[in-house]
């Protein structure tokens, strides 16, 4: 039995077309599109424990509060070894100063002069500081040390109390200092 010549040619063409697509292209859209659906459903408790995200508008900030005075004590005990007295820096980053310096030709980037959101400072301290014992500060301690560093920068008064309501209201000096390049 012989196959019709036409069909052989057609299948050869198909093979060649497929082979022609097999270029050494490592971003070719050959990625699989269906998975076996093996994801487990997290419990509400698991979700709550893992979801520590905080947004600049304050969503996700935990309960608790802290004052500048309380923060000074936390800072002396947990932060000063690395960030120096009153946040002046050394050996780790300076937290204070430089406000107004960014366009001066000698920019000094600190929490006070450069960071656009106070919520970011809270978030970073809560997840990563102090580096020798991250995630050991209580939420009250993080609010307090945030209030203290903001006060050192002259951004909040000495009487300030920071909590989930007051922290997002802080307008950092460099709040409008960034140009969004995410779509460029």
């Amino acid at each position: 039995m012989s196959l019709p010549k036409k069909s052989i040619s057609a299948s050869l063409v198909t093979v060649m077309l497929v082979a022609g697509c097999a270029t050494p292209d490592n971003t070719a859209p050959s990625a699989p599109t269906r998975g076996p659906n093996l994801g487990a459903t997290p419990s509400a408790a698991q979700l709550a424990a893992m979801d520590t995200s905080i947004t600049p508008n304050g969503a996700g900030l935990p309960a608790g509060s802290g004052t500048v005075a309380q923060g000074a004590k936390v800072y002396a005990a947990k932060c000063e070894t690395c960030h120096g007295p009153k946040g002046v820096g050394k050996p780790a980053d300076a937290l204070v100063g430089g406000i107004g310096s960014l366009a001066s030709g000698k920019p000094v980037r600190t929490v006070g002069s450069y960071w656009p959101y106070a919520t970011t400072f809270f978030d970073y301290v809560r997840r990563a500081m102090p580096t020798n014992a991250p995630q050991t500060l209580s939420n009250d301690e993080v609010y307090a040390v945030t209030a203290y560093v903001l006060n050192l920068n002259g951004i909040v008064p000495e009487s300030a109390v920071r909590n989930a309501q007051t922290l997002p209201q802080v307008k950092m000096p460099n709040r409008d200092g960034f140009i969004d390049y995410s779509k460029k």
Partner: protein
């Protein structure tokens, strides 16, 4: 930014650390040997016969060592190491980086043990049976995965570079740092990554209305967080489980990392534990206070994700001394976050004239492309440069053009032309040309 941190991120030293210099001296010997042949190490001019060549070598007259469960490089290659630095050595020595020694490597794949490292508080020792990846936020159903379940998903293998946004930042210092190609540009490495397309996992969770960004979090003791546009996550992003065929190394995110081909390394979150789909970015520490590019007018560019087209000559380069006139093979690597490299040009006169180098295939998108060029050195002082062009038409800029956009010393996203000056005596230095 504090001076301490800056000097860490960019190796802004103009002197080579003594240990590194030693390393380079050793490498110089290695490279000389490979160029001139083993006769050179025996102190005999090329072309002459040696007594040793007439004897049967000792390793041919006795059995070799037996098989071993996991191999390592030759004991004669111990000088090929990653130089490392920490900007916080006295208080947080595990915060810092180590760099791929490009000048000692060939081809395009970085050995896993020489892939650059950048840690924000050390390498966690993660037990994979206790590690989970949560996908939640603006999804129809939150999902938890672990290494066992993800390993049963369909996968893809892709050869891509990962490059720290702080790579090459040393060249933004006022004076050119005298370091090797690796010491200056070693925060970039290439691996074959294998993993699960992130789009597949996000589709299983089901994207809800308003989804625009994905917040990725690592399980290290810095709990590193970065925000990624959803469009990238649905494009070529991957949850990588394997690196060069074996499980991802601890330094690279074991048991799983986010891979965002062509985008700044910091976003490729290692030790990935959580992906939260959101309507906006988190504005985390590492996407506001760090990895943002300050302009002279005081405004900073935020979210510079895609890395620019770039190339470096790895031979000849700092750390080697040309010991004779004549023919050499000039070689190096080129890459772009925008896609494939389409052309690399070489200049011997600090950028006045250019000629094409040969590109070695296969040319992968968002990966290193090796370039080569037969090159005759006549003993004159020359300034060698390479200039890469990618398939989108992006051209690697000059240093002057790049740095003029930013404040002095801006040490992120630097991808301008590297210049190596070769003196008449064959010695090589880093210059700004």
């Amino acid at each position: 930014m504090s001076k301490t941190k800056a000097s860490h991120d960019l190796v802004a030293k103009t002197e080579v650390p003594p240990a590194l210099a030693d390393n380079q001296r050793r490498h110089f010997l290695t490279r000389s040997a490979s160029v001139a042949g083993t006769l050179a190490t025996a102190g005999v001019a090329a072309g002459a016969a040696t007594a040793a060549a007439q004897e049967v070598p000792a390793w041919m007259k006795a059995p070799g060592t037996p098989m071993r469960a996991y191999g390592t490089p030759s004991s004669y290659e111990k000088s090929v190491q990653r130089p490392s630095a920490s900007g916080y050595a006295s208080v947080s020595p595990a915060t810092g980086s180590s760099r791929t020694p490009h000048q000692s490597l060939e081809g395009t794949i970085t050995p896993s043990g020489l892939h650059f490292e950048r840690h924000h508080n050390g390498v966690p020792d993660i037990d994979p049976s206790k590690h989970e990846l949560l996908i939640h936020g603006l999804v129809n159903r939150p999902l938890m995965f672990n290494l066992a379940t993800l390993s049963r998903y369909p996968m893809v293998s892709r050869t891509h570079f990962v490059e720290c946004a702080g790579n090459s930042g040393g060249n933004s210092a006022a004076k050119p740092p005298q370091g090797t190609a690796g010491a200056i540009h070693g925060l970039a490495s290439v691996s074959e990554w294998t993993g699960v397309p992130l789009s597949l996992l996000l589709n299983e969770a089901g994207l809800a209305g308003g989804a625009q960004w994905v917040i990725a979090e690592g399980a290290d003791s810095a709990a590193m967080v970065r925000s990624v546009p959803l469009s990238k996550c649905m494009d070529d992003a991957m949850v990588a489980l394997y690196q060069n065929g074996e499980r991802v190394r601890p330094e690279q995110g074991y048991p799983m990392r986010l891979l965002l081909p062509g985008w700044e390394g910091n976003m490729n979150v290692k030790w990935l534990r959580r992906l939260k789909v959101a309507d906006g970015p988190a504005h985390s520490k590492d996407e506001t206070s760090k990895y943002t590019d300050l302009q002279p007018d005081g405004k900073a560019r935020q979210f510079t994700f895609e890395l620019g087209v770039k190339s470096i000559i790895t031979f000849p380069s700092f750390g080697t001394k040309l010991d004779r006139r004549g023919l050499y093979e000039l070689t190096g690597i080129a890459w772009s976050g925008a896609g494939r490299i389409s052309r690399v040009e070489i200049s011997e006169d600090a950028g006045k004239t250019w000629r094409d180098a040969n590109l070695q295939g296969p040319i992968y998108s968002k990966s290193f492309t090796r370039f080569r060029l037969p090159w005759e050195w006549n003993g004159n002082a020359v300034v060698l440069q390479s200039r890469a062009i990618d398939e989108k038409g992006n051209v690697q800029p000059t240093r002057a053009a790049f740095v003029s956009q930013y404040v002095a010393g801006m040490n992120y996203h630097n991808h301008y032309i590297q210049s190596w000056a070769i003196a008449a005596d064959g010695s090589i230095s880093n210059v700004f040309a």
